[in-house]
Amino acid sequence: MKWRRLIISAITLLPAMDMTAGDSIAIGQDHPESKYEQRLQRIQNTWASLVPTHFVIQNAGNMGVLSAGIGWSYGKRRQFETDLMFGYVPKHDSSRGKLTTTLKGNYIPWSIDLHGLSAKVPEHRWHFQPLTTSLYLNTVYGSEFWKSQPGRYPDKYYEFMSTKFRLNLALGERITFFIPEKSRRRHSRITLFYEVSTCDLYIRSLFQESSIPLKDILGLSIGLKFYTL
């Protein structure tokens, strides 16, 4: 019980954490003179790229009732993202609640400026991403789950699977609000997204039995992203 309270409070606190690491990126941007300074800058740039660019919080998606974590957005148009999330599966009718970890890759091919080319609005605040595609690996913790079948089984007994790791697929859409520079405190933009996802076991079941309705294996998920960098 105490554990659950601790986990929930940790998850809810995550987005509130301040990101000050971004400030350090500006150091050493003037034309470096010596080899030492060049090297220093290179090291700093490398480490700076490891600073998470955003926080993410979302529900469901076969990762738990709620998941939260950090992420990195990269690419010329920031079209790629990697998220690392921690989720919580409540006890429900089982023996106890469970923790999960998710590593997620997103590809966002397009971003549409909702203000178009209009010069009337000084700042183009609203952007729409009509498609997001995601692939993510989820792992659930607990002795009931195994990575690959334990030695007590004959070879290839449950050949098809791991009960611990789940590969998931998701498609979704997003809307992003760019916070006007004057009023920025912690974040530069906030994104609201939804996803429709399914996992490898369900896709497998569809291959085995075509009568399974698609709606049965698809799940909805809603989330928020807070971008700092």
Partner: protein, 262 residues
């Protein structure tokens, strides 16, 4: 009215949020075996002739399982016993799918747990949805003893088969039954049975009044065999994919077994 509409929409919305394949959050009917056994016992406690269908290993062959249910429904069957492997990977969704199919049976039914139903937290889902893994009921003065024999799922660390449970069942309600049929998922000498106790298990069976035969699933083939070569017949029930099952007609003098292809 508005309140109910709100509640209904919240319920609908939450049902499309997938928490986890192994989240053990059972919606709908639970404790099924207990409810169904109550129906069976009240309807057929002293009936002379019983017609019992044994089905097994439906896994994800839903279309075949639906045809099977439709076939059983046409045959004036008193009740149905599913010998286990209701699912393939034991996710909550699979449990819900197979439950929906079983509920289209006109006759009451009970379901045993198969080894596939244990995967992840599937055994916990089974216990919520169907109940204890060892259970028994009496119909037509015959005791149907359903026992969990999936020892490999416990790495042989648990009392599987549970001899204490069997000892209790030998004498429990002894005034109400004269004969016994033993039902299990994995048969002796299979990859799931605790094969160290195969012979001990056989000895225990002799303590049951009027032992008639044993019925099992697991092997995905229709078999009639004597594992111990001593006259005790074991009926192996085929999987749904092979589209056949067995129908037992039990009379006061004995029983007949029919293989049904559909």
């Amino acid at each position: 009215m508005k309140k109910y509409l709100l509640l209904a929409s919240v319920a609908l919305l939450s049902s499309c949020f997938d928490i986890h394949p192994y989240d053990v959050d059972v919606d709908g009917e639970t404790g099924i075996n207990a409810k169904q056994m109550k129906i069976i016992e009240s309807r057929f406690a002293d009936k002379d002739t019983l017609r019992v269908a044994f089905i097994s290993d439906t896994h994800l062959w839903h279309s075949d399982a639906r045809d099977q249910v439709a076939d059983v429904n046409r045959r004036n069957v008193d009740f149905v016993v599913h010998c286990g492997d209701l699912t393939d990977t034991a996710t909550g969704k699979e449990y819900e799918w197979s439950r929906e199919i079983l509920y289209s049976l006109k006759a009451p039914f009970v379901a045993l747990i198969g080894n596939h139903d244990f995967l992840g937290t599937g055994d916990q889902t089974y216990q919520v949805m169907y109940g204890p893994m060892n259970f028994s009921f009496i119909a037509g003065r015959v005791k149907f003893l359903c026992i969990n024999t999936n020892a490999t799922e416990y790495d042989y660390l648990a009392a599987i088969p549970d001899f204490d449970y069997m000892e209790t069942e030998m004498v429990k309600d002894s005034a109400k039954f004269d004969r016994t049929i033993i039902i299990m998922h994995a048969p002796p000498y299979s990859d799931q049975f605790n094969n160290n106790v195969c012979k001990a298990f056989r000895r225990y069976l002799d303590f049951f009044p009027g032992l008639m035969c044993c019925v099992y699933g697991h092997n995905h083939n229709d078999t009639v065999t004597e594992f111990y070569n001593d006259g005790l017949v074991f009926y192996g029930i085929d999987c749904a994919e092979h589209r056949n099952y067995r129908l037992f007609t039990i009379t006061p003098d004995g029983y007949e077994v029919e293989k049904i292809d559909y």
